[in-house]
Amino acid sequence: MSEAALGRLYEDGEIVVRQGEVGDCLYVIQDGTVEFLTEEDGTEVILRTAGANEVFGEMAIFERQTRSATVRARGPARILTVDKKNFMRRINEDPSLAFNLVVTMSHRVRELSHEVVQLEAELRSLRAGAGSAHADG
């Protein structure tokens, strides 16, 4: 049973946003979880997940570009659309509306930086491993 009454209900596995589409709205998750994925050479890569109250889809609106990833419901999820027109009109009158978005985005940048550091460390140890294996051999 969903804890929210607003937005649209997506079934498990249903696509909310497709990578490459033109975006004219952003989304706020009311209830449930979604996953972000991209396709690389025919294989699916899950980038991250998001849950209740999280906003997504803002990148395509700010950068006027196509959707950077596919978003899919993981389990049933209720999602509210925010129209670009309403959003832009409001943000013009009330720039503080962007504050939550900035918090979300800076949170993501922090997560990504953390991941980059981790990946670099892994890469280094892999290289070191490969190097020592080579020396041994």
């Binding site: 009454a5 649209r8 706020v28 009311q30 509210l80 309403n86 009109r89 009158e93 009330d94």
Partner: protein, 472 residues
């Protein structure tokens, strides 16, 4: 004047640069949507800039209690744009607050009905109870909207003082509030969010600050218990609006909640008789269950609605937000309360609390609402025209249905109807679209067809779906 010594912060008292500083005290008179949202946003913004202030909300109502003691009488529609803005602001409206998600409007006229739906069957509008519910509720199985917001404000750090403010006076530039049996309290900023259904607004006219009360008109609200299952089968997830040629009636709506239906009427010298006349109309009987008895109501009230906002909703260290200041004409009053509340919070934190700061930064937001209302008046004149003239109603019905029959056609009429009823776009925007050449051509072409009284059939489920049915 003798006031109890309350520690107000040392802030500059010279006019023009008054500002909130650490330790400042803010009073909010009224904890309806305007007051609660203001307190929440003010404290949230203060925290962001590391400012420590105290906020007291004076509110005598208990929003969790059934009946008039807990209710700020209204239709309880949370507009499409407000739903979206609150979501972006991180204000969640859970299921026990939103009693029903609304995905469509049905316009009922003597010539037929038109259904206008949101794309993708999305619940874009919320129907809420403002209080603990109609008189006959013993224990509400929901949380009222006003209760939800006031809890959010207390979570943000606001303190609720469960009392009615009886008097407001000035003392050395600051404002002093008086409640019965209480010590006078001095504040650095007082925000009036009392709505229009209160006598206290007269006090402010006596302060010599150029404040004149908003103009109001009486409305009628009734609540009917139908039960969830019956509502699902009858009114469903649509708000039903009526354009009927009943004398004195301007606008009427039936709004489905969980177990209840709210009837809202606007018009001239609204009274019970007008309510009865509306309830007896065949268009109304057609959407309500067959055994519905309009006499058996759970609650009824005749609240005022603000139809002309105040010219000067501010003075030194004093602001009027929500209905007690400026609101949108007839529609989305809570959305306007949100806009003015948030603007007030922003200005108080970032621009100061002087009269100059308010004039420069708060007034423009109020003005934009007021000037849009001016256009709104003309838009409503046109709907009144439709109400009086049968052929105009036929054209509306015909064009909307024809748009539907051709899904690739831009739904111009339906989007106008949607925005007019849902209150989700500025009136100026809607008004411009009313005179779009394409729409005028469509209407002109429809005219002969309406004389033959044929209405194109529509397909359900498409973008901005319109279904029409001829009422006998």
């Amino acid at each position: 004047m003798a006031t109890a010594h309350t520690p107000t912060a040392e802030s500059q008292s010279s006019a023009g640069d008054a500002a909130l500083v650490d330790g400042s005290r803010v009073a909010v008179i009224g904890g309806g949507p305007a007051g609660a949202l203001f307190a929440h946003f003010l404290l949230q913004m203060a925290e962001r800039v590391d400012l420590e202030i105290g906020v007291d909300i004076y509110e005598p109502r208990l929003f969790a209690k059934p009946g008039p003691v807990g209710c700020n009488m209204c239709g309880g529609i949370i507009s499409e744009s407000l739903v979206q803005n609150l979501a972006l602001d991180g204000v969640r409206l859970p299921k026990d607050v939103v009693q029903r998600g609304i995905d469509s409007y049905v316009l009922h006229m003597d010539v037929g009905s038109v259904r206008i739906a949101t794309p993708n069957e999305e619940m874009r509008i919320g129907a809420v109870h403002r209080g603990g519910g109609p008189r006959d509720v013993t224990e509400a199985n929901w949380e009222s909207f006003d209760q939800h917001l006031i809890e959010m404000a207390t979570d943000s750090g606001a303190k609720i003082i469960p009392a009615r403010v009886d008097a407001v006076t000035r003392d050395d530039g600051r404002l002093v509030l008086q409640v019965r049996d209480g010590e006078p309290q001095t504040y650095d900023l007082v925000v009036v969010a009392t709505g229009v259904n209160t006598s206290i607004l007269k006090t402010f006219e006596g302060l010599g600050i150029g404040y004149e009360r908003p103009q109001v008109t009486k409305t009628l609200i009734r609540e009917y218990f139908l039960g969830q299952d019956v509502i699902n089968e009858t009114l469903g997830t649509s708000m039903h609006v009526f354009l009927l040629n009943i004398p004195r009636l301007e606008f009427a709506a039936l709004i489905p909640k969980g177990d209840y239906v709210t009837m809202c009427l606007l018009g001239d010298e609204i009274d019970n008789a007008l309510g009865d006349a509306f309830a007896a109309a065949p268009e109304v009987r057609a959407v309500m269950p067959a055994d519905w008895d309009p006499e058996v109501k759970s609650c009824q009230c005749l609240p005022h609605i603000n139809v002309r906002g105040v010219e000067k909703p501010y003075a030194e260290r004093l602001l009027f937000i929500g209905d007690s200041g400026v609101t949108r004409l007839y529609k989305d009053g809570i959305g306007a309360a949100y806009r003015t509340a948030k603007a007030a919070a922003r200005v108080a934190i970032f621009e100061g609390v002087s009269e100059d700061a308010f004039r420069e930064h708060y007034l423009p937001v109020c003005r934009s609402i007021t000037s849009d209302n001016r256009v709104g008046r003309y838009a409503f004149l046109l709907t009144q025209l439709a109400q009086r003239l049968r052929f105009v109603r036929r054209i509306i019905l015909y064009v909307a249905a024809a748009e539907q029959a051709t899904p690739r056609r831009r739904p111009r009429m339906s989007s106008i109807l949607w925005d007019m009823f849902s209150g989700s776009a500025p009136y100026s925007d809607i008004f411009m679209r009313m005179f779009h050449p394409v729409l005028i051509v469509r209407a002109a072409l429809a005219f002969p067809a309406t004389l033959l009284s044929r209405t194109p059939r529509s397909t359900p489920g498409a973008h901005a779906a319109i279904s029409t049915k001829e009422n006998r």
